[in-house]
């Protein structure tokens, strides 16, 4: 794939290697392996709102970038600590 988000490699005991590109979903952070010549619609898609690659489970759902979710989790933690909880 063009500009992959990662690389996976399985080394077999007989010395063989299977390699494939990966990407992490911009909405849920899930890792997706992309086999050579795999159809784009089989691995997910491109979110036109955040322009990030998304996994097939996030296709058709609202765009909430994962970094925004992390910010929300950390803000909640800070708020709870400020309340002494």
């Amino acid at each position: 794939m063009r500009r992959p988000g990662g690389y996976a490699c399985v080394t077999d005991p007989d010395g063989g290697r299977q390699e494939c590109d990966t990407f992490t979903c911009a909405h849920c952070n899930r890792l997706t392996h992309v086999e050579p010549r795999q159809k784009p619609e089989d691995v997910g898609g491109l979110c036109r709102a955040c322009m990030g690659l998304i996994c097939r489970w996030c296709v058709g759902r609202a765009c909430v970038p994962f970094l925004k979710k992390l910010d929300q989790m950390e803000a909640r933690e800070r708020a709870l600590r400020s309340y002494g909880l």
């Binding site: 990662g6 399985v10 990407f23 950390e74």
Partner: protein, 152 residues
Amino acid sequence: MAKYAITGAQAAVSGSYKTVLDVFATSGSLRRGKVFDVLIGTNGTPADNYLQWDISRMTADGTGSAVTPNPLDPADVAALATAKSNYTAEPTIAANSSLFNVGVNQRASYRWVAAPGSELLFPAVAGNGLALRALSGGYTGSATGDFMYEEQ
């Protein structure tokens, strides 16, 4: 942003998920983390069995052996996150939070490396982190896992 290596093992793989290695934000010294390298394999008697590997989000610690993160650059300070391995009481795993699930032959090893910006992230929230777990229907020996991660 310092990078660290952690290595772990699970001495007794079974038919239910056992945590091999995890890393999570420590209460009182919170920092966001990014796992960018995962290496998994086994070091038991070779045989043809499957192992199913999973990385999921954890929200609370269980009972495991402490692992000291090694800075990739010796000039970096000690890690703020906590790492543990060889769990005997599983950490709390968030439902439907699997980020990575792959079946690998026991004789094989698997490595994943992220490109910058495509890491597996965990928030700076106490007890929240990523747990590498394994199960097998036939293998009951030891499984090994390594992470490299960055603290932001």
